[in-house]
Assembly symmetry: C2
Homo-oligomer: 197 residues x 2
DNA sequence: GTCTATACCTTGATAGAC
DNA sequence: GTCTATCAAGGTATAGAC
């Protein structure tokens, strides 16, 4: 029964994850999740106390799956530069980014206007911290100071967020590719000027 | 009577503009606008047929006021570089950007997940086009080709959007200032390498 | 654990008095 | 033009049968 319970719980999380991404958190209702899963509305409260609890689980799920992605980037090669390149290229191949934007960025923009700014903000930063620290780790491995590595990590995330937002607003695949290439060039410049070989 | 009508209409637009910014469009109700203006809920329908009509008016208002800002930038100096600098520095001085992000960027992220993607997307791009074309005009005045000017305009907007999003997520004023300075340096490089004096 | 039925509230929107 | 009263629909959440 534990496995069966986990299965339905997982179904809810996955459906909510998708819906929060394509419709937004506030515009996603229990009825929507019910339609997507086939589970009756009232059933959700057996697994989650409130809608915000579902959001928490979705956030955890996104952190987890993105952690997996970063792990794959880490294990694929020992070269931090190659790792960062893989990280930069990943949204460029994702078709949905053009339509719905970055799952983290758009959700953060939405939750940043939440009533309980305390709780939401902590969750948002927790998600971005995963990316931030991983990127900073790669820059650090390239030989810059920890403080500088963190600065570069934030700048990289900002560039990627700006890229995905503008690309999704204009639904402009060419801009996405061009700007992605620009970020790669920027990485090259960083390594050329700040890293001793 | 016309003036009185316009006055109340203007009150609604201003209150809605503020609420859409700090609470988001979907989470702002007629009751919220009623509380903010002191006008009864039912009264809104004398001025606007639907909630989306209020959104339209708010968008127009934002375009209008930002157009004024750009006009001020344009009239303040004849130097396109100085104009672009003023444009870049403008969000750096705005305290609310740290808390609620860019009014255009966050609203676009929210409306990009709207049901009627057709109508919303057109409005969003209309808003960003104002900024895009103004920036492209400045780059063009610096002497680059129209196509290149448009590319640079988009890149500038993307950088600023990324900057404001990350800054608001981490509520990091230092990052905002630092990244703003980085964008200014980037502008310098562009002019140095692409513009013939 | 799963499902149905429903309570209770807020929403956007309408009708009509003044 | 302004306001009150109210509607129907949809929201989250709960109670309780199975």
């Amino acid at each position: 029964m534990a496995t069966k319970g986990i299965t339905n719980r997982q179904r809810i999380i996955e459906a909510a994850d998708r819906l929060f991404y394509v419709r937004g958190y506030n515009r996603t209702s229990f009825s929507d999740i019910s339609d997507a899963t086939g589970l009756p509305r009232g059933n959700f409260y057996y697994y989650f106390k409130t809608k915000e609890d579902i959001l928490d689980a979705v956030m955890d799920s996104r952190v987890e799956s993105f952690g997996q992605m970063l792990k794959a980037c880490t294990q694929a090669t020992d070269d931090p530069h190659a790792r960062l390149l893989a990280f930069v290229r990943q949204p460029l191949q994702n078709e949905q980014v053009l339509q719905y934007g970055c799952p983290f960025g758009t959700l953060s923009a939405e939750l940043g206007k939440s009533p309980s700014a305390e709780a939401s903000r902590a969750q948002i930063t927790a998600v971005f911290d995963v990316l931030r620290h991983w990127c900073a780790g790669q820059f650090g491995a390239l030989g810059v100071t920890p403080a500088r590595a963190d600065q570069l990590a934030l700048e990289l995330l900002a560039r990627m967020q700006g890229m995905t937002l503008i690309a999704s607003i204009y639904n402009d695949r060419e801009f996405l590719q061009r700007t992605g290439a620009g970020i790669e060039s920027w990485l090259d410049e960083i390594i050329k000027h700040e890293v001793q070989a």
